[in-house]
Amino acid sequence: MKEMIEPKAKFPWGTLILSALAFLCAGVLVQRYVFGLGAMTNMSDGRGWGLWISFDLYCGVALAAGGFTLAAIVHIFHMEKYHPVVRPAILTAFLGYLLVVLALLVDLGQPWYIWRMIFNPNIHSPLYEVGWCVMLYTAVLALELSPAVFERLHWRIPLKIIGFIQIPLIIAGIVISTGHQNSLGSMLLIMTHSIDPLWYTPIIPALFFVSAMAVGPAMVVFEGTLSGAVFGHKISREVFTGLGRITSGILVVYLIMRLADLAVAGQLDMLFNRYPQNIYWWIEVGGGVILPIILFNIPKVQQSSKGMFIAAVLYIVLGLSLNRFIMSSIWLVIRPGYTYFPSWQEFAVSIGLVAWALMMFQIAVRLLPITKHHDEGESKSEHSAPEAAAAS
Amino acid sequence: MTNHWIDIRNADCVLIIGSNAAENHPICMKYVLQAQAKGAKVIHVDPRYSRTSARADMFIRIRTGTDIAFMGGMIYWILEDMRKNPGNYNLQYVQQYTNAAYIINSGIKLPGDEGQNGLFSVWDSTNSKYDTATWKYADPANATGESKLLTDNWSGWTSRAADEETAWGELNNNCVLKLLWRNYRRYDKATVSKITGIPQEKLEAVYAEYAKTGATGQAGTIMYAMGATQHTYAVQNIRAYSIVQLLLGNMGVAGGGVNALRGTSNVQGSTDQALLEHILPGYLKMTTDVDAHQTLAGYISNITPAATNPPGDLAGDNPVNWWKNTPKYVHSLLKAWWPDVALADSYNYLPKKRATGVNYTHMGLIEAIGKGGPDGVEGLWIWGQNPAAGGPTSLGARDALKKLKWMVASDIWFNETHTFWKRPDVDPSTIDTEVFLLPAAGSFEKEGSVSNSGRWVQWRYKAVEPPGEAIPDLDMMIQLFKRIRKLYDDEVKAGKTSVIPEPILNLSWDYSDEEEADVIAREMNGHALTADVPKSGAPGTFYEVGELIDWFNDLQPDGKTSSGNWLHCGQYTKASAADQQDYAELITVVNGIPSINKAKKRNVVDSSPSQVGLYPNWSWCWPRNRRIIYNRAAVDLNGNPWDAEHPVLAWNGTAWVGDVVDGGGNPINLAAAGSQNLPFIMNSEGVGKLWGYSLKDGPIPEVYEPWESPISNLMTAQQNDPAAYIGKLLVDGTDWNERGTVGDFPIIATTYRCTEHWQTGIMTRNLPWLAELMPKMYVELGADLADKLGIVSGDTVKVRSKRGEIHALAIVTKRFQAITVDGKEMHQVGIPWHWGYAGRVKGDSGNILTPSVGDANTCIPESKSFLCKVEKA
């Protein structure tokens, strides 16, 4: 743990690398808008969706689920001990959604026509729902985050107003965000025969919802550990252990759903004979769901930040991200005659956007009462006000 | 085609041999498939499986160049089956309508006979040609017949059911049927299989299937094209089809016939108009420098055949001998060209080509160009052709072109020939030829007729204006001649006498400068020049002067009528009252008389009572709008159709109904003596020729090997067709036409087309949509061969023959497979020839590989069978 906390060097390598990546991304974006998608991506008619959809949209949205989960845990379920991690989670979520929106503006063939969405509704399209939800939820997150800004600026009246609507806002946020976590799954429902049967199921939306719930606490563990290392502030072990428990609890439900779904479809045998897809399944579910469940529940692991971190990462990377990648890319059929592996520019955009987000996170944490906020968490004035307002 | 496209739907069996109908004549597959839907079997015989084979019920993989063995085997199979199961055949047809029973000169010797070594009697080795005297009928004026075959259902042939030797032994040794047996008994399935690579059981299956069409009322059609004709024994391939069709009673009937799927859209028209060196328009024989052709009378008597009267039971039947009308046609032609000149004089205007010593066909022409100088050819007018890519041995042909002083080309694109002087690897400064290109209007940019394979003369109108300075070829021709004539005129006026100006000055050529196609159509039809030309349609009346002639039988000798091409006489006539009513918009007033160009008719109703798809009022076809030639063979002696379901023709007691009857008159049994017309009116004997006597390389087909072959002839010691043309493409002392051996070039090659491209490709490689479908020159080879050579599909490979080397994209396919020939495994590969160095997408031409050798009779190059070697590039 210690060595992770220790800054490696005085020279801001991290910032430098992040900036470099961010600027590379900006350069690539110029290329994208000047020469079009074909010039810089490996996407093709064979594969109309690439890295950006899998990573930025599918993983991005899911990984930003920390926002709604933590908000729900703290403000709805009133599990106050998690209060200190709400704001970082919301900030992460907000930046995450910003990243999603930006990525979509890169990915859309004609982003300047995005407004058409407003005038040409297709209520049957899950993407329509996702589109609206992403917009609304980003706005909600911004509002949820706004108290930090107002606090910093000592703007009392807006703070009051936000405080007043905080709970409705949070509930709206939960409904909207879980709604489109669902709908991201619903989007895949159309690919009845394109997604490998090991993953395709009519309950994809539910699975997406549950797995997204699980990722919230896991992300907090992950980010908390990292930001603890970077910014030096500490989150109590109890919170981590608790988050781990919550994650593993949800994951158990998730695992049962996955297995039950296969069992009901009579496809359990595919786990053993559908080669090579089953290998991916085992890596995803074995390594990314079952293993974290076990780890989160081993007392020794619970005691170790590293252990918790690893368990969280396993789920985030394998259990969730790999799952989204598998369904939106790896085991989604590609048209005959085509192959797809992202171009370096596609990677540059995805990574660059993350770099931008990280830098913004850095700045936000420095400028706004995000982590400090929980250090002062006990100071009544700051969160009792909204609570009181909501209660009244 | 003896029949026509739509008629294919009437067939009970379709034998596609030497044609890739689906790819090269896509439209005809509509009718093939219609026949198939009604139960007809479709058989495809080809070296490789193609898009045609994909639709066939039976695909027979054959070694290239072995069709005669295959067909000979079929003839033998049929003869034997006919002997044993006579009930399965239309023996009356064979007896009455073919020369099966005719007796041939006793001196006749067959290639398999003692001491013949693969040659017929009598080969004149000094002059390298046959003396054909022994091929003729024993008595040319009145044929003698094998009487046993002239009895009812051959009942006189009493030992017919005995063993083979005994049975056949009973027949006259020199009767045609026996001669066929004597020759083709050597073509047993074991031997044929060894030569062709077709397994014996497949031979049995295909022979049995096709022979079913021998039954009375059954029809089989044979569709062929370049797979049959591009061989040194091409015409004999077609003869083999004819023999089979006659034996099976398939000529003249609906759904039958020997059907050449002709090439370019108007190639039928081009041969009808004699764009060939051996004929004048309407298939009149070309004038040569032989003594007999020195005068008009001599020429006419030389080319007008005498009738051979049929023997035995048939005695009294009238052979008709249509060509007896030759004088009418020749005289009318001369009058069309030089109306104001006495016939004997205008005859002298006709050029007389040399009868021997010069080859006027394509290969001979290129050789003469290669020779250069005053002995050769110095200047070339090239009118819509691309010999630098389309002719054989392209590297040599291209090299030869540099000897030209000038070249004038009329074309719609720059092709390989026009740009030969700047082709890759050639230094333009070393070539002195001056090249002019006259931009021509394309086919949709001009008006005129196009004759399809079914002989339908279909009028087309201009759809769009030609681009830029392009004008129709016809306009070019008209203006060009006017200027030439002016030059002559000027010279005459200037008193120069070094040239013979009369043929040019006197030629009828008073056209306006543009769009005279309709006027030319009238000239081809012909009109009355005097007031005493009787009108057979209205006995006792006469044509007005200038009135278009109704049909060619009304043409007159002695210069009373003109006709630019007797075959077209009847296409453009005085409009009948019915025509004036039904086709008012087509009526043109010619010399004051309302007339109609029937090629313009577009009536989609099949008004023929028989409903066999004749569509008599859709365009017009020669001869006389007769849709099926030799249709008289479709009925029995009483005029009843053999096939009541598909009657081309039927006698209703007083008249013929259906198609325009061949030859006229009543059915044989109901006709007066002297007009008992036999069906094959174009033959001087009036019957179908199982046995022929007018080809250069034999009276019946015999197996020879291609010039470049992987084996020695398994049938006789004579390796190649003795009369084949072997080119010598000499340019500056180098003979480009070298012959490869199987040792160096172990793979059999054939060349062909694909749907996506046209000929040398210049017209399709320039069209983006077609170019993108098939941009690359390719070679197709079997997966088995490719494995051996380490080639995978998509590789670039080198294909070499003794005459050159090309690079091509390898298409490895299961459609090509090894065959077993004479016990040895052999591979064949397929090479298209649609590429060249001009145009939008480029590639090597398959013709770089092909040899300059040609058919004994027509000199068509043998581009379907040669040897090569394939390597990974």
């Binding site: 808008y33 998608l37 074909g38 063939g109 | -």
Partner: protein, 276 residues
């Protein structure tokens, strides 16, 4: 009532006249690719693209005497329940009930390309090389069909020399397809006939306007194996449940909020008590 096209593999000669006619009518440009396809034993276009709405697919199937060279024309199937239509975020893809054509309105499209992945047949394509790219696909030549009573058949159908493509009312075509299959069986002494007894597209994914019969199973021509359920079914069900979900979630959250709030207050009171 809607139109359809029946492709009969036993009538197709693979001539690609349909492909060229399509380009001609739609004024689609040509592009010579660096590496041409040699798939199925023939050189040529083997994919749909933004300027190729249809192509012929060739497959060499079987060995020896059973060898077959089979062809299939690939284009938009004009599904009765089109995945692309349900998918499209802005409703730019739409099935016309009268004609059955699923057409695209570029005036609505934003370029998300969801339609491309949502199509079970892999049909919509994109103008990747363009700065302002649009989706492109076969239109069923609706601009020809629409010409009121004077309506024409699609360009590709008109060009087909062998009537391997037949245009008509979908219901009638289905009847015709089964008739051909049955007649062929009846004509065959073995009772098999030349067709595989399946009309591809009659039922697949809820039915498609373009349908196939052939002597080989269409999956051998790499048409996807698909169940009869429309691809849109699950997604549409999910979407229709969304309002219920949202209401439920809302109620749940409000409920939990108040319950836990109370609990917390009680707990806080206890705490206070203890403290005190």
């Amino acid at each position: 009532m809607a139109y359809g096209v029946l492709f009969d593999g036993t009538r197709c000669i693979g001539c690609r006249a349909c492909s060229v006619a399509c380009k001609s009518w739609n004024e689609n440009s040509a592009k010579v690719e660096k590496k041409t396809s040699v798939e199925g034993g023939i050189q040529g276009k083997a994919v749909v693209s933004s300027d190729t709405f249809t192509f012929m697919r060739y497959r060499e199937i079987g060995e020896g005497d059973d060898f077959k060279w089979a062809f299939a024309k690939i284009q938009c199937m004009h599904c009765l329940k089109p995945g692309c239509e349900t998918a499209c975020i802005v409703g730019a893809l739409h099935r016309n009930k009268e004609t059955g054509a699923v057409t695209y309105d570029q005036g609505k499209c934003i370029g998300c390309r969801y339609c491309m992945v949502a199509c079970p047949f892999g049909i919509p394509t994109y103008q990747w090389e363009d700065r302002t790219p649009w989706i492109r696909k076969c239109t069923f030549c609706s601009d020809r069909l629409n010409e009121a009573e004077n309506g024409m058949a699609p360009a590709c159908v008109t060009a087909c020399p062998t009537r391997a493509l037949q245009f008509g009312e979908r219901d009638e075509l289905i009847e015709e397809a089964h008739k051909r299959i049955e007649e062929s069986k009846a004509a065959d002494p073995a009772g098999v006939g030349k067709y595989i007894d399946h009309v591809y597209g009659e039922k697949e994914v809820g039915g498609t306007a373009w349908m196939y019969i052939s002597s080989v199973d269409m999956t051998e021509l790499d048409l996807p194996w698909l169940s009869e359920e429309p691809v849109t079914k699950n997604a549409r069900t999910a979407m229709s449940l969304l309002p219920y979900y949202a209401t439920g979630m809302l109620a749940l959250m409000v409920g939990i909020y108040f319950i836990t709030k109370r609990r917390q207050k009680i707990a806080a009171g206890k705490h206070e008590e203890k403290k005190g």
